[in-house]
Symmetry: C2
Subunit: 406 residues, 2 copies
C-alpha cells in the first residue's frame, strides 16, 4: 500500500471502451488499499486534430490561444474517466491544470513547471478520493492556460509524483516497456528490464517517444522511480531508475531514431564574434529548441552554419532565419525536412572506445551518408537522409549485438 | 460607437469557415470604433456529442464531471476564434468562464450566475482588445467548473452585457429573428420586428429555442436591449425590449411548441396535506424543473397527480417518483414521452377574452385531444399527443390571424 501515480497515454484512453478499462485498472489499485492519482493524456489523435484545426485558420496560431485549444483534449479525458469511476462507485474527482495548482512559466506551448500547490490534491487524497488530473496543462501566475509540450503529461505525472512524494510513478502506454530499438522497424528489438535515467534521457531526446525527456529529467532530479508499462497487459515493463541499481552492462543499450527533425543551413555567414548569438537568440526567444549545431569553415572568414529543429517549428525557424540572414549578411538560408537522426545510447560507452567507428563503418557499408554528427558521454547521433532510417536502425542494432535470439 | 456584446450560437461557429466569417463580422464592428465582447457557443452538435459520450459510459453521469466535459465545447470555439482574429491582426484574447470571473452557484448543469467580476474584461477592453468569452460556463466559489444549462451562452452574453453596461447585446443565430411560429413547420410564419421581454419569456420557456429563457429574464431585469439576428445576413432581426416601446398589438403574437416534454403521473395518491411536497421536493433537489402540474380528484380521498419535466430528465424523475410512490403509498407511476406542448402567446391577451375558447375549438375541430392545460396572463398552453404538434401549430397560427399574406 502506498501512494501511486498512474499516467495513461493517448492510446490507453483512445475511446470509451479503453477508458472503462483504465477505470477498472485504477479501481483495482485503489481497492488494494493504495492512494491513487491518475494523470491522463488526450485521446490518441485528438491533439493532432486540434493542431491541424488551428493550422487551417492561421499560419502561425497565437500560442496562448493554441494552448487554450489543446487543453480541451486532456480536460475531456479527465472528465470522462471521472464520470466512469463515479459510475463504478469510486470517489473520483477531476482536476484541471489550474485547479491542481500546477503553476508554470509563461512559455505557451512548452511551459515549465514552477511549482505544484499539492495541498488541494493532498486534501482530496486524505479523504480517499481518486484524483484524476488532466495532464499536459498548467496555468501561469496570471491564470492563463499553458501546456507543457508534446508528451507533457509524462512531466505532469512525474512532477505530481515528486510533489506528493509518491512511491512510484507508473507510465501506462501502448508498448510494454522500453526496447533496444523501435520494434515496429526492428523485429529483433528486445525489451529492457531496467534502464538508467541518463540512458533514458538520451533516448527520450532522440525520439524514443515513450517518455517526454523533461519528465525523465524531473524524475532523475527528485529520484522518482518510473515504471513504464503496457496498459493492455499485467506484465512488468521497464523500470527507469538511478544508475547504481545493478543493471545489465552492455556497451550500447539501444538504437533510437527521430524523424521529427528538420535541418536549416545559413550559407556564407561572416565568422565574427557574436554572430552565433544573432542566429540563435531569436529562435530561443520563441521557445524553439535547437538540437544539433555544426559549423563548417569556408575560406575568407566565412562559414556555413547548420542546425536542426523539430519539424513542427521548421517554418517558424526558417522565417526567423531569413530575417537574420538579411541582417548579418549571410548569402542564403537552406532548409531540409527529409532528414532523420539515428543514435546509439549506453552507459557502457563510457568505458569502451571504438563505438563511434563501429557506427560509422556500419552506416558506410550500407552507403548511408552521414550529414551531421553529435556525441555525448553515453550517446552518438548521426543525421542521415530520412529514407534510410529503418535500414540504419536495423544494421546498427545487429552491429552492437542487440538482436534477440530467434 | 459603443460597447457591443455579440453572441454567436452553435450553427454560427459550426466549422472553421463559419468561424472565419464570424471573425470578419466581429472585426468589422471593431473597425467601426466599437468595443466588442464576443460570447461563443460550442460548435453545433458538439454538446450533444459530449452528452452522448457521457451517456455511453454512465447511466447518470456525475454532474460536476459532466460540466468539466461540456465546458470543452465553448473552450474550443473561443480559442479558435481568438486564433482567427489574431491571424487577422486583431488584438483578441480568449477568456474561459473562470478567467472571466463568471461566478455561479454550485448547481452543476444548470448553474445560476451570482456575480461577474467585470474588472478583468474592462481592463482588456480599455486596451482595445476584443475579448472572446467562452459561453455557457462559469465557476463556483471553490473553482469548480459549472455550466448554465442548455442555451446558457445567451445568459452568459446578457449577463456580461449587463455587468459591463453594454449598449446592446446582439444574439447571432441561424434564424433571422423571432417568428410567429416555427417556420420549419408553419410556412406562413412571419418575422416579428419587436417583441416584449414578457412575450419572449413565455415563448422561450415554451421551446422557441431562439433564446434561453433565463437570459431574457436577466435582460428584462437589467433592461438590456437584445437584438436577435442572423449571422448569415446583414438584415435586421427582432428587437427584444421592454413592453412600452410601441409595438404591434395583436391579441396573439405567436404560436409556439415544445416537444422536449415528458409526462409523469402518480396514480391513486392519498390526498393528504404535505403529499405534494413529498412528491416534488426530491425532484426539485436534483435540479429538475417541473413545468405543468395537474391534480385530478378521485373518490375516497385519492387523486391522480400529473406533471411534466424536460425529456432529458424523464428517466431520473421516473426513478425518483417510483421511490416516492412506495413511501406515500401511491398505486402506480406512469410515464409518457410522446407528448408536446403547444401555446399561444401575446401581451394583447390581457385585454381580450375568448382566446382560450378559440384555441380549444380549433384543436377540437382537428380531433386533437388536450391532455393538460395551463395559462398565464399572456399565454395559454395545451399538452397534446406529440404526433399532432405540427398540425396544431398550423391551425392555431391561421385561427389567430398570424398567417402572412401570399
Amino acid at each position: 500500500m502506498g501512494l501511486i501515480v498512474q499516467k495513461f497515454g493517448g492510446t490507453s484512453v483512445a475511446d470509451l471502451e479503453r477508458i472503462r478499462y483504465v477505470a477498472k485498472r485504477v479501481g483495482k489499485t485503489y481497492d488494494q488499499g493504495n492512494d491513487v492519482i491518475v494523470i491522463l493524456s488526450a485521446m490518441a489523435g485528438v491533439t493532432d486534430r486540434l493542431i491541424d484545426m488551428a493550422a487551417q485558420i492561421a499560419e502561425s496560431p497565437e500560442k496562448r490561444e493554441l494552448d487554450v485549444l489543446l487543453a480541451t483534449g486532456e480536460q475531456t479525458t479527465a472528465a470522462l474517466l471521472a464520470i466512469t469511476l463515479k459510475d463504478m462507485n469510486y470517489p473520483a474527482i477531476s482536476m484541471l491544470g489550474h485547479q491542481a495548482k500546477l503553476v508554470t512559466d509563461c512559455t505557451f506551448g512548452n511551459a515549465r513547471i514552477l511549482e505544484i500547490g499539492a495541498g488541494t490534491i493532498i486534501d482530496l487524497i486524505e479523504k480517499r478520493n481518486i484524483v484524476v488530473v488532466a495532464g499536459f496543462q498548467g496555468c501561469d501566475i496570471n491564470g492563463n492556460i499553458t501546456t507543457l509540450g508534446r508528451g507533457g503529461s509524462d512531466t505532469s505525472a512525474v512532477a505530481i509524483a515528486s510533489a506528493l512524494k509518491a512511491d512510484i510513478c507508473e507510465i501506462y502506454t501502448d508498448v510494454d516497456g522500453i526496447y533496444t530499438a523501435d520494434p515496429n522497424i526492428c523485429k529483433k528489438a528486445r525489451k529492457i528490464n531496467t534502464i538508467s535515467y541518463d540512458e533514458m534521457l538520451n533516448m527520450a531526446s532522440l525520439g524514443a517517444k515513450v517518455l517526454q525527456i523533461r519528465s525523465v529529467g524531473f524524475a532523475k532530479k527528485y529520484n522518482v522511480p518510473i515504471h513504464v508499462r503496457s496498459s493492455f497487459s499485467e506484465e512488468e515493463g521497464t523500470m527507469v531508475v538511478s544508475e547504481d541499481s545493478g543493471m545489465e552492462q552492455l556497451v550500447v543499450s539501444a538504437v533510437t531514431h527521430d524523424k521529427n527533425q528538420a535541418r536549416i543551413t545559413l550559407r556564407k555567414v561572416h565568422d565574427q564574434p557574436g554572430v552565433a548569438a544573432k542566429i540563435f537568440s531569436p529562435i530561443a526567444e520563441t521557445g524553439i529548441v535547437v538540437d544539433m549545431i555544426i559549423q563548417n569553415t569556408r575560406a575568407e572568414g566565412q562559414t556555413d552554419l547548420t542546425f536542426t529543429v523539430p519539424k513542427e517549428d521548421f517554418s517558424a525557424a526558417m522565417e526567423i532565419e531569413r530575417k537574420v540572414a538579411g541582417k548579418i549578411g549571410a548569402e542564403d538560408v537552406l532548409g531540409d525536412k527529409n532528414i532523420a537522426k539515428v543514435s546509439v545510447v549506453g552507459v557502457g560507452m563510457k568505458n569502451h572506445s571504438g563505438v563511434a567507428s563501429i557506427m560509422f563503418n556500419t552506416l558506410a557499408r550500407e552507403n548511408i551518408n552521414i550529414m551531421m554528427i553529435s556525441t555525448s558521454e553515453i550517446r552518438i547521433s548521426c543525421v542521415i537522409e530520412e529514407k534510410y532510417t529503418e535500414l540504419a536502425v536495423r544494421v546498427l542494432h545487429t552491429a552492437f549485438g542487440l538482436d534477440k535470439e530467434d
